[in-house]
Structure formats: structure tokens, C-alpha cells
Symmetry: C2
Subunit: 349 residues, 2 copies
């Protein structure tokens, strides 16, 4: 799979190109997308954070029907906060208003919680992907060792030097440096997310200076020039999410897809899930600018039906539309063509 | 002055290296620092925002004693807000507490306002520096033309695509893309600064795609790897501030200098001047996290004595310490050695 001139990280990940399609749980990262990226020489990823163990088995089987090449599975290392009755009361008025606009009853139901992490981890161990990546926190040293025992490469997500050092101390095989530009959930697990919104240009060299494992750069990377930039900063590989959102293989909702090219303003908000995440600023995120959202996963569960209804109605003012800060640079093309274009522009192929 | 292989931007700026020392008004950017950078083949800058016209004449004469090479002068294009009596009442309690800690009477005096922009501009036109750069806003088209009439190259500062397009429409010769990583004042002048904290990795390629004039990358650049990264993103040159703060020629206060290497958390705050700026997070900035500061320049004037006393007492918990997000990568060496090191690392020399 790897070329003779493969770098350490390419050998580690089992890929010809140091290009990773970021896990994007909740719809965008379909088996078709991940497999297409892997077949093109990159590393496809599947975000399994919201999937039951049975569903993880199924998507893994689906990917393996489509490719024999390495891919990654990703989970949230959760620290779910308990439901908060006062928070529920606080967020009901704006949620009720928005629900009525969408023709839903004002009172929201509570969607089921994400499946327990332990059962998800069992499914990952069964699946034995080449790579397991995680975000939101740090597992125990025993979990890392159990994965590595199955010859699974373990990649943690850091948004600060402190987090990268904590992950390295756990024995992870690589660290993904999530720059502040990145779309979707922030991985911050030590301290406040506001203190860990460090741009890729500043974050990557500091992590490279501080940890001995390979650093994967994420955040703001949309083309081959940015890939060359990340490698110049000392990154061993790059991870792109937003760039893949507009591939036909992605499960991105049509209105979200269309909104990316003109997404001049993104915001890091807890409005949609209760966890800080970067998306396109809209009326929904604005409603939670001064109103504190419920904790994760309560907010996610309280907003699930509303978010689905907003997508169905094409209401971009109320939809959850994760996006990185360079979203306007999206180029809609099949995933294989995008990987090939990125590699060519970056001088990698 | 320029090498035979000089790029367009090197010819424009009259320098051998596409490396600019950022203007850092208020102390750090001494004539000695700017001249050392220019003598080493980069472009030294002097922030003149707080200087009277007579003082601008004097620092320009001082620089010209030290170098015959091109340098830049920088001003704030101010939109001073009027003093706000309610804001004064709001900020007096924390300021009074901090002042008492420093042995000052609780009631702050009001330092003089910055000199009027028009008089500062007259001094710049008299001085005829090779380059005039500006931040905080956009001058009129007439001001840009008057500078260019004197054969002064005009560089504006943008923190978003919208701002870069506005500057290009005014006829500026180059745009400095100020990434969110950058230390010091944010240049944002269209919309809220919170919406224009775009990382360098995401900002530079979007500006390069949208404006025809050369783009200068700023924010998070501390070494030659980051310079190569910025050039890979399409930047024509780079501007570094924090990296120069620890040079012996800089006027940086000793406690500030020492705090940079361990500055793991910076924050964008209005606490010190009333304008959003990135610095090392401390007790003083924390006091204004939920309390709204007075507008610029009222807050700057109300805090002037306190800030000076904090420096004199070495109180880093109360000092203003501008810093970019990659501050821990500072390397203390003379400015000429730093420019030479940067050029060598970047493969420019």
C-alpha cells in the first residue's frame, strides 16, 4: 500500500499519501466517502460517536465492501454531564419559538442519549481498523494499550500543548493538532475551550517541539498549498474535514453544502450540541450567544428533532452547519478527484 | 538594495528579504530595533500611533541615523469613540482595587488622548518613509493617493475577506492579512472583532484568492518553517511581531519579555485599551472578561497610569503583555541574527 519513499507516518497509517479525511459524525462521513478517500491513497475516517455497536459493525462491513485499504474509526471520549433541569427551563423558550416556526410542538422531546462509550469501544476492537482516532478527551492508558494490542494505531486530538503532552504520556501513536480554524466539535479537554482556540500556524510548531510522536495538522486546510504549509510547520500529515463536505459521496445535507461557499462568518458555539463546535453563524447560534446552552449531551438531545426539521425544511437560519474558517474555498468534486488534486497541488504525487 | 532575484513584493518594499518586523506601538519597536531589521535586509517598522508629530519627526531622524535602508511607519486609522460616563463608573471599582494594590490612589486620572490622526499623517508625509502601513480602519481614498503621490508604498491591515476587498478598492499597494494568532491590537474595522478571528492558515489563501495586490501574512509566525508555510499559502511576504519582542534592541519591559516563553494562554481582550488585542491572559484581563471595558481610547487613558505602575513593579498579573499564540517559541537574540536565522531556516538566503 505504501510507496517505497513512504515517510514514517505513511507507514504507520498504511497509506500512500499523508492526507486524512476527518471523521465527521452525524451524517457527512459515509462509508462511500471514507472508502473513496482510502482507495485514492488517503485515509478515510468514520465518526462513530453517535452509532450503536451494531451500527458500527454495519458501517465497518460497508466500508470493507468498498475498499481493502486502511481506514480510521473515531469516537468521542465522553465526559457526559448529567441532565440539568434548570438548563432545560432556560433553553426551552428559544427552542419553543424555533420549533413553532418549523411546525413542531413547542415542547421538545428528549432524543435518546448517545450509546455508551464502552460498548462502542468493544465494536471498534472487534472491527480492528488500521487506525482509531479519538477526540473530546483522553481514554485510560489501559484503553490505549488494549487498542494497540489489536495492532490498531491510536491517534488522539489536542488543541493545546498541555493536551498533546497528556496524550503523549498515554502512549498514543500520533497526535492530531486541531487548530482553531477547524470546523465541527472542538476537542478541548483540559481547561476552557476559549483558551484553546489556537490557530494551526501557531499550534502545530509548538506541538512538534513538545511531543515526539508524529503531529497531524487539522484546521483551515483546503488545498495543496495549505498542505505544503502544514508540512513546512513540521506536521507529518494533514487532516481535512470541510474540504470533503461537498464531495458527492458525503452525506452533507444539500442546504449545508450550498451554504459553505459563502460562509464568511463561522462561530464556535455550544448552541447545537452543548459542546463547543465551529459552524456557520446563523439565527440559531445567535440565540445562544448570551444564553447558556444546556450541557452535552442534553442540548444535543433537546435540539435533535428541531435540527432534523430545519434540514428537512432547508432552513439554513436554524440548521447545524459545521464549517471550518476556510469553508469558502470548498471545491465540489468526487472524493478521489479531490485527493488526487490535493496531492498534485502539494507536490506529493 | 534588492537582489537580482527579488520578487515583486521585495521590489515594492525595497528589501532583500520578504520579512517585516511588525509595528508595535507603545514601546517595543524602538528605532534601534527597526534599523537593525532593515540593516539585516528585512523591513523594520515603527508604530507611531501614540506619538506626537514632533516625536514622529524625532524617531524618524533616529532611524535614519542608524540605517539608510527602507523602513515603515504605521498609524492607527482611528475611529475614537467619545468618553462614556457610564463606562467610567462601571470600570472604576476594579481599576480602583488594582490601583490600591500598586500603591496608587484609587481614583484614576485620565491620560492625554493620542495625538490627532491628521497631524500624525502630516508627519508621515514629511518623513516620506518607503512604506506606510495602517491598522484599525481604512483611510479615505484621498489619503491613500496623497501618500502614493509622495512615493510612499501603502499597506493596509485586513482580518477578513470583506476588509481586504475594501482596502483593495481604496488602491492600497499591499494587504497585511492579520491572522487570529497575532499578538497586539486586532485590525478589525468591518463588523465585530469576534467574527474576524480567522486563523492565518484559513485567512491568507482566501485573501490571495480575492485581492490582486500582494498579501503579507501575519499571525503565529515565529521561525523559518512558518515563513515557508506562509509563502506556501500564497503570501508574498511575512510580518512578525512577537518574535522580535525579545530582541535586545526591543523596548519590551523585562517582565513581559520573560513571560513570553511560558505564555501558554493568550486572550483577545478589550481590558487594556478598549480595543480588542491579544495578550497574555492574567488577572487584569480576567477582570474584564464579563465586565465591559470603556471604549477606545477612554479605557487606554484610564488604565495608562496603572499599566505603567504594574510594569515598574514587575506585576505580570496586572501588566499589558501583548503576545501572539506562538509566543513560547520566542528566541532571544539580536534582531540582525534573528532576521538571518529566519531567512536561513526559510531557505531565503
Amino acid at each position: 500500500m505504501t510507496t517505497s519513499g513512504a515517510t514514517d507516518v505513511q507507514r504507520l497509517l498504511g497509506v500512500a499519501l499523508p492526507i486524512i479525511q476527518a471523521p465527521m459524525a452525524g451524517g457527512p462521513d459515509t462509508p462511500a466517502l471514507a472508502a473513496a478517500v482510502s482507495n485514492a491513497g488517503g485515509l478515510g475516517s468514520l465518526g462513530c460517536a453517535y452509532l450503536t455497536p451494531e451500527k458500527i459493525d454495519a458501517v465497518v462491513a460497508d466500508v470493507r465492501q468498498r475498499t481493502e485499504r486502511p481506514f480510521a474509526l473515531n469516537l468521542f471520549i465522553r465526559a457526559d454531564e448529567p441532565d440539568d433541569a434548570a438548563a432545560r427551563e432556560r433553553v426551552l423558550p428559544p427552542l419553543g419559538d424555533f420549533r413553532r416556526e418549523l411546525g413542531l410542538p413547542a415542547e421538545p422531546g428528549l432524543a435518546p442519549p448517545p450509546p455508551p462509550f464502552e460498548a462502542q469501544l468493544e465494536a471498534v476492537l472487534r472491527a480492528r481498523p488500521r487506525v482509531f482516532s479519538f477526540t473530546f478527551g483522553a481514554p485510560t492508558r489501559e484503553v490505549v494499550a488494549a487498542l494497540q494490542q489489536e495492532r490498531i494505531v491510536v491517534v488522539g486530538t489536542a488543541t493545546s500543548v498541555d493536551e498533546a503532552e497528556a496524550l503523549a504520556a498515554l502512549g498514543v501513536d500520533a497526535v492530531c493538532a486541531q487548530g482553531a480554524e477547524a470546523g465541527g466539535h472542538r476537542g478541548t479537554f483540559l481547561g476552557r475551550f476559549e483558551d484553546a482556540l489556537v490557530g494551526t500556524m501557531a499550534l502545530v510548531p509548538q506541538l512538534v517541539a513538545r511531543v515526539r510522536v508524529p503531529v497531524i495538522a487539522a484546521g483551515g486546510i483546503m488545498d495543496g498549498g495549505a498542505i505544503r504549509a502544514a508540512l513546512a510547520l513540521g506536521a507529518a500529515a494533514v487532516q481535512l474535514g470541510t474540504a470533503f463536505l461537498v464531495c458527492p459521496e458525503a452525506g452533507t445535507a444539500a442546504p449545508h453544502r450550498e451554504a459553505l461557499a459563502s460562509a464568511r462568518r463561522t462561530v464556535v458555539t455550544r448552541a447545537f450540541s452543548g459542546r463547543a463546535a465551529r459552524g456557520i453563524r446563523n439565527r440559531f447560534s445567535d440565540a445562544f450567544e448570551r444564553l447558556e446552552a444546556a450541557p452535552f449531551p442534553q442540548q444535543q438531545r433537546l435540539t435533535a428533532e428541531l435540527r432534523a426539521a430545519a434540514v428537512a425544511a432547508g432552513r439554513t437560519d436554524l440548521m447545524q452547519m459545521w464549517a471550518g474558517q476556510a469553508a469558502p474555498l470548498v471545491r465540489a468534486m468526487p472524493a478521489a478527484a479531490l485527493v488526487e488534486t490535493l496531492a498534485r497541488e502539494a507536490g506529493l504525487a
